[in-house]
């Protein structure tokens, strides 16, 4: 038996106390509904590290799909890694909301280009992007590279293009960035540590 709000008022207005229903042994079928189904029962777990502050809490990311060929993983829940010695399963308000970072509507999806003076972005391919970036860098470098300073001393530096490295990218990314950028002779090269 389903009881809607209107029915309830009808019952009351009609002078029938609901106690009478009760006395008849009323037992709603829906009351047997279980607790909400546990949503992590067969999710795939991946260990990760929170990308925000330097506590570097351990994470367990739960994703849809079991990594079968035809299932594209989608992370739908993140919680703290209870085995992690520092956070022991806890997460702060930022870490607890990481799933919304991954799925932010402001995630960039494609290389884009904005021409001088333009008011809009234009989607381009990776090859176009790499080609254009490399061309701009090379032209500037070839024009402004300083092989020897005024005193004739070999200095091999390039200081007309600046580089700013990330603060949340991995060590591996940081390592290769340093290696590649320094090989160009770059000195105008810094990261978040100074800020």
């Amino acid at each position: 038996m389903k009881v809607t709000r209107r029915q309830f008022f009808k019952i009351s207005a009609g002078g029938l106390g609901s106690s009478s229903i009760a006395m008849l042994g009323f037992s709603p079928g829906e009351a047997q509904a279980e607790v909400r189904t546990f949503k992590l029962a067969r999710s795939t777990e991946t260990r990760n590290t929170c990308p925000y502050c330097s506590v570097s809490c351990g994470l367990i990311m739960h994703s849809l799909g079991d990594r079968a060929k035809n299932a594209e993983s989608a992370i739908f829940h993140i919680e703290g890694d209870p085995d992690h010695p520092v956070n022991r399963g806890t997460l702060c308000p930022k870490g607890a909301g990481l799933v919304d970072f991954i799925h932010s509507e402001n995630r960039l999806k494609y290389p884009e280009y904005r021409a001088p003076g333009s008011r809009e972005w234009k989607r381009i391919s990776w090859d176009e992007a790499f080609t254009r970036v490399a061309r701009l860098m090379k032209d500037d470098r070839d024009k402004n590279f300083i092989a020897k300073n005024a005193a004739g001393v070999t200095v091999n530096r390039w200081v007309t293009t600046g580089f700013l490295a990330a603060s949340a990218s991995s060590n591996e990314s940081g390592y290769i960035t340093h290696k590649a950028i320094r090989s160009l002779g770059a000195l105008a090269f810094d990261n978040q540590a100074r800020v």
Binding site: T4, G15, S18, Q32, V35, H77, L91
Partner: protein
């Protein structure tokens, strides 16, 4: 076998007895206000776990956002800047949400069969599919917790993550709490934990440190450790002696199988009045009716 997934001991507006042989461990969530830094991790974890997203609001001149419980915010931090001694500021931050009363006013007030259930472990849960949106539970609650959704006319509140607890996990807010201000376990263990905390607080000069487990609702399954247990009201209006309103008790009494049909009708009418007009007017009215 639904009733056994978490054993239900009581259902709203229902008199057929629930299976009663099995007993499960009584659980409790302890909120140690003295360790809370008000970071809102519990609020985020709650929303994230329960797949809720409240509105992106505006700032009202305080740090509290969302500023109140809603159908999407089942827990909020309430911040109070208090000076009990001049010049000695205390920033009392209390996580608010369902207290999971042993004697739940919401369940007693609810006229919709099975919309509010109480499990044998102490969790009081709303089964929204049975909710008729009357809002009586809101009036029945001495802590002003349940919230009616405009979208689906159903009432929502903290479930103490019954889905997680049923799977053997702690609630999402408990797990995430960075400073261990929220802990979870058997009620007995939580009371013991509270004792330890109170001893530490007393050693730091909080002579009135104590536990909040109000007797007026037969105790709760969410309990607080307070530095000033003698003044719960300074924690953004935590009720000093919460109890279920007389009308709610009466209404519920009337649903008992042996209560008379006539009394039931009177009580029902009065109760509807109570929830729509408020307790004071009603109490006068019902007194009069009883006098007659």
């Amino acid at each position: 076998m639904a009733l056994q997934s978490l054993d239900i001991t009581r259902r709203s507006a229902t008199t057929t007895p629930s299976p009663g042989q099995r007993r499960t461990m009584e659980v409790a969530k302890l909120i140690d206000v003295t360790k809370c830094i008000g970071c809102k991790a519990c609020q985020v974890a709650c929303m994230e776990w329960n797949d809720l997203r409240d509105d992106v609001g505006i700032n009202h001149g305080v740090l509290d956002n969302p500023t109140d419980l809603t159908e999407n915010s089942w827990t909020v931090m309430r911040y109070a800047e208090v000076e009990l001694e001049p010049g000695k500021l205390e920033w009392l931050i209390r996580k608010d949400g369902c207290m999971h009363c042993a004697n739940p006013g919401c369940l007693k007030a609810c006229p919709a069969p099975g919309a509010v259930v109480q499990y044998s472990n102490g969790i009081v849960d709303f089964h929204e599919e049975n909710c008729i949106g009357c809002g009586y539970c809101i009036t029945g609650c001495p802590f002003n917790i349940p919230r009616l959704s405009q979208k689906d006319s159903k009432v929502y509140k903290c479930t103490l993550c019954s889905d997680r607890v049923a799977a053997g996990l702690e609630p999402a807010c408990v797990k995430t709490c960075p400073t261990g201000a929220i802990v979870f376990g058997s009620k007995e263990a939580m009371l013991h934990h509270a004792e330890e905390r109170i001893a530490d607080l007393k050693s730091r000069g909080f002579a009135k440190a104590g536990i909040y487990d109000p007797k007026g609702v037969d105790g709760t399954h969410v309990i607080y450790v307070l530095h000033h247990a003698d003044k719960p009201e300074i924690y953004s209006g935590l009720p000093k002696d919460p109890s279920i309103g007389a009308m709610v008790e009466l209404w519920k009494g009337a649903t008992k199988p042996l209560a008379s049909l006539a009394l039931g009708a009177v009580a029902a009418g009065a109760f509807i009045h109570y929830v729509t007009k408020g307790p004071n007017e009603v109490s006068e009215e019902i007194e009069k009716e009883f006098e007659e």
